[in-house]
Symmetry: C2
């Protein structure tokens, strides 16, 4: 069904509704209208990395890990899988009469906010700090979720529009101030791609204000979205964000005024309950019925596009696809591609024949909670790092010793014990072991979301980039033990890993790797495959050089604007192989880079070839070269090949101070390699990208 | 080192102490006395089912499950294993200088209180409701823990002395009133066995008063313990129980008076801090130094017996014994023997060749917390029922579907959802499946201990015998699905399983089966072995016929005094085989029953042959026959054998109303079979025990 047809049917249906009925349909938990044959529908569903909060579903790595794969096809496959499981669950739940929250087909995913500041607790939900990566992968996610069938398979939602990245604690009252250049270049760029290139069906407004206007009632933002970009889908408020207008932002006085402001600005659907006041606002003359009709038509257009009133090609998708072996394998593939090898002095891959006892230590080593991050479904099988290592070594004559080492946050495990009551055990295990796998990090109780609405775990941002104190003590203790140590970080954000870099033999960033992530880790450790994930955020040395958390200027933030050296740069990640780009040129039509590469005889591996661009003559170029293309390659040991790497169509543009995208001039340098062209990446990898200049 | 030698060395050491130093050693966290070369020692350690709260340790089924094996040798093996791991951990921790709580060699286990009322949250810690079973297995536990080496391997502690079995909520102020007959026959019997037959090194007093006297300061109880039974070890208070004297029991006015009362009555060691007031009490003339010396000598006697000041044969026990493959195998063996098959209409064992899809449903199906009960250590590998089933079927063409079904207690999983938000999923899974494994029950947050001291989880008793409401709703839903259902209960106590008995094909009582319990369950379900556990508590039909929880009269309680029929009787448990006792007689010396048995061609199995006795002529006989012997047998399919079943030396005695154990007269009936001789057992099993009369 095309949009035109859906709109027509929506218009016909809405025309039969009273104004009260129309208004009733503008809330996330829309009631049935029996006389019109309209069933109840709950718009609220979540699927950042698998169908969330509705029971069983394939659990993929958290979004920040998905993006670290730099793998367009994979992201699309994942989203297709989510849509397939979402449909299967929708079919089954509907048959059972269960039309509750989290059981519909409108997923409020992806989150394509820019992970501007590493302290943001919800940065884990995003595709990292780069607008092009976020937009490119976000488009794939939308395409995968929405499908290309007769009907839309599931509706995606680009959130949170816009300029939204913490602090969580003040999100309901905060005014994010962003320059026109930062808006266009950074904060809105991915949204523009999802609207214009991927036809995302919905956009969700943010909690905060943007340059003075609440994001869910911002004429400025709406004119960009609908006016400039031609967005045709529906706009939904973040949950209880419209209530914030009068309660926290104080841009209105009453709930009626807030409802009217949101509605009149173009917000069609309310997650929350402020639209309960729409009828009063309408009766008070604050809203025209035409606008209510328009909103209602948009919402029913989505419902018709999804085929919710028809038989569709998806009705036969059986429940058994949920967590099917193929889907679980895809989750494992994503976990494998997402893990980032940050340091390796040669210890990895471990030689299982030389290890008799392996110590697995740390508060995240056997934590199921740490596997999944936030907004997660329920997995049938959880494989923690410890589980994965035990399983991997089941038939080997290797003893696995374990110690929790410390609580993830508290200073002791047992209430009546002294501080650090597992530190001795951790040291004993290390002393008994030939090698130590130390698994530290966070979980959704420590980094997450201001806890007043959908996320039942009260949590928030990080105060700084350090691991909690007991984990730092544990790292110090194990450094003192003098054994070979692999530090594995499970977290959804950049952490200050300076101590680990200095003291341990190998460092792995695992993100939140999904329910089966421990299996992928074990296989990585013992060399069943070569790691190939790349950082989608900068790992700073510490937070001392970071701007204030509330400062939304991009100056000094993320790899494009960074001054000084990070600990681990954006785009960085080692492999067990050594893929070198030996040559590259722009394709004849200018839409891609054609690269030649070889693997220098170390080990077969996948790797990501990244293309960065610097506009040499423009005063508006970002301070550092920016990502404009990427592609995964698969390299046999000692083999080579060529790759066509599609380029950002905006690769040769810049954004001026008025927020206009203009030509970047005639001279550009392109860098093509397996990392950024910065000095730190060079020192970490020993290789510089292939570099060439073009003129246009 | 024998006790005499230890006493001498203790006397010599204590003689060198000032009164202040002596007093300092009478608290659980005894400080070092450097001038005498005495290191700090924390007396508090726990090991009901594995070394607890000190990190890694082999996790055995909770005590209530251990006892359901009715397996003396196994209990001894388990306790030996605990002592081995305790020594290994003590060696390693001491070397590291860690002498904190839970890291010493004085284990406050076993708990041999009689599980008098099924609502008691700590009943899970006990060996059930029968004094003989509790005493016999308790003795094995003590022997295993203390060992028979040159030095005592670890010190056991019989707790809580006495008449202690809830309610938890009032334990600090409650006065348990028990008749002389109930005291001797029920509440003290197991303690007497542990003191007289197994030389238990320590006894812990209870929180409550007993017939008006606080148990940790009761002349009546102490005169029995030290006077009548000749107890030579040390007496320790329950934690902060002495504070209860003045704060809750109001038998004293001040902390000094409480300390003096406990000390003067014979309590040697204070878990808590009231003995901080001992010095004031001593200076006020309330305590004689001789008594302080005596207490201190008793405590140092234990420390010398343990070899804490010597080199011992245990010093070389390496850390690697902790969770060794042999120890883990023993835990699995215990889990296998502990599971009780309560109903089987023929569905079990499942035929894996006939099942294409199996549904695993319920809040305990994938809960690690439910595996371990309270007072647990940390396992390196947890195998939930779901994990176990998945692993078991890994190479079979069988699909495993899972649904949590409901929260273990709350009415919904997702905060914003309607009630019962996983019920549809559970039904969908059932409808998709050829058979359903439904795993319900409790965990230590729902049944446990009044939460003010050592157990950091605030919890308590059960209000009734029903599962929490959402689980009842889940059972109803699955009964309506009409699929074959195996109901698996994970709980540490009797639950009203009437609905399951009526509606499901099979019912299994798993207790808290230990960290690897899910493996044992899967093997049972698919017939890798035959279940053979027996109920060590009565499963009542409901709580309507139960006396008041605070009523400590045994009248109407437990199988010996029960009127009416239970749902599942004490001693009951099916197997996949059919062991029949075909003949039995008293051995010539009267110390055992010699039984002939055969397996009637159904399946190889282990089983428990139980002996019950009724004194036919005594007015003091318990209303129903009581257990006086038990032995495990191992039966090949269709094979048979003979067994010598040792008898309780008190089998032919009764306890009169003055609490004196006297002859039960000349005529006795003995019942020898795989269950009690009651009508309900007969109807459930289809077999009556072999019965014969003797005269003496």
């Amino acid at each position: 069904m095309n949009r035109e047809e859906a709109v027509t049917r929506a218009q016909e249906l809405v025309a039969r509704m009273s104004v009260e009925e129309k208004i009733s349909q503008l809330r996330y938990n829309a009631p049935a209208i029996d006389r019109l044959g309209i069933p109840a529908y709950n718009w609220w569903n979540e699927a950042l990395h698998g169908v969330a909060r509705a029971g069983q579903a394939t659990s993929f790595p958290q979004a920040i890990g998905i993006a670290a794969t730099f793998d367009r096809e994979l992201v699309r496959d994942i989203a297709e899988t989510i849509a397939e499981e979402g449909r299967a669950k929708y079919n089954a739940y509907s048959e059972y009469g269960d039309r509750d929250i989290y059981k519909g087909l409108t997923f409020w995913s992806p989150n394509i906010n820019i992970f501007r500041d590493p302290r943001w607790g919800r940065g884990q939900e995003t595709y990292g700090e780069d607008p092009y990566l976020s937009g490119a992968l976000g488009c794939e996610f939308v395409r995968g979720l929405q499908g290309d069938g007769e009907y839309m398979k599931a509706a995606a939602c680009a959130k949170h529009f816009a300029v939204h990245s913490g602090p969580e604690a003040v999100r309901h009252s905060f005014d994010a101030k962003a320059s026109k250049k930062d808006m266009a270049e950074t904060y809105l760029a991915a949204f523009e791609m999802l609207v214009k290139d991927a036809d995302v069906e919905a956009v969700m407004g943010a909690y905060n204000r943007v340059n003075g206007e609440p994001a869910c009632g911002s004429p400025a933002l709406m004119s960009i979205l609908r006016g400039k970009w031609g967005f045709k889908g529906h706009f939904v408020s973040d949950c209880w964000a419209i209530r914030d207008f009068h309660e926290h932002h104080h841009v209105t006085e009453t709930a009626e005024e807030s409802a009217a402001l949101a509605m009149n600005t173009g917000c069609d659907l309310n997650c929350g309950d402020t639209f309960l006041h729409l009828l009063d606002a309408y009766r008070a003359g604050m809203i025209k019925e035409e606008r209510l009709t328009e909103a209602c038509v948009r919402l029913f257009t989505t419902r018709f596009l999804l085929g919710l009133f028809d038989e569709t090609e998806y009705d036969g998708i059986p429940y058994s696809v949920v967590e099917s072996p193929e889907h679980l394998a895809l989750s494992e593939k994503c976990a494998r591609e997402s893990m980032v090898l940050l340091k390796n002095n040669g210890l990895l891959p471990l030689d299982r024949k030389k290890i008799r006892t392996i110590g697995v230590i740390g508060p995240n080593a056997n934590s199921r909670a740490a596997l999944v991050g936030n907004y997660h479904g329920t997995a049938t099988e959880y494989i923690t790092p410890l589980d994965g290592i035990i399983s991997f070594l089941r038939d080997e004559p290797v003893r696995v010793l374990y110690s929790e080492g410390c609580d993830i946050m508290d200073d002791r495990i047992e209430k009546l014990a002294f501080e650090n009551d597992r530190l001795a055990e951790a040291r004993i295990v290390a002393d008994e072991s030939d090698a130590v796998i130390l698994v530290v990090g966070l979980n959704e109780t420590l980094e997450g979301e201001e806890g007043d609405t959908g996320n039942s775990y009260a949590s928030g941002d990080k105060a700084d980039l350090l691991l909690p104190p007991p984990q730092r003590g544990l790292m110090r203790e194990l450094a003192a033990a003098g054994k070979p140590v692999v530090l594995c970080l499970i977290a959804g954000s950049a952490i200050d890993l300076s101590f680990a870099e200095e003291n341990f033999d190998a460092v792995i960033g695992m993100w939140y790797p999904g329910a089966r992530g421990g299996k992928a880790l074990a296989e990585l450790l013992f060399g069943d495959y070569s790691p190939s994930g790349k950082l989608d955020v900068t790992f700073y040395r510490n937070d001392s050089a970071l701007p204030d958390f509330e400062d939304y200027s991009m100056d000094g933030r993320t790899y494009r604007y960074l001054r000084g050296e990070p600990l681990y740069p954006f785009g960085y990640g080692l492999t067990y192989g050594d893929v070198e780009v030996t040559g590259a040129k722009l394709s004849e039509d200018g839409s891609a880079v054609e690269a030649e590469w070889r693997e220098n005889g170390k080990a077969p591996t996948e790797d990501v070839i990244e293309v960065y661009v610097r506009a040499e003559d423009s005063p508006f170029a970002t301070p550092n070269p920016r990502l404009c293309g990427f592609a995964r390659v698969k390299a046999g040991k000692g083999a080579g090949g060529s790759a066509r790497i599609p380029l950002d169509p905006a690769a040769f543009t810049v954004v001026n101070d008025d927020g206009e995208r203009v030509s970047g001039g005639s001279r550009y340098t392109l860098y093509v390699g397996t990392s950024q062209p910065d000095e730190r990446s060079f020192r970490l990898t020993g290789r510089r990208p292939f570099e060439f200049e073009i003129t246009r």
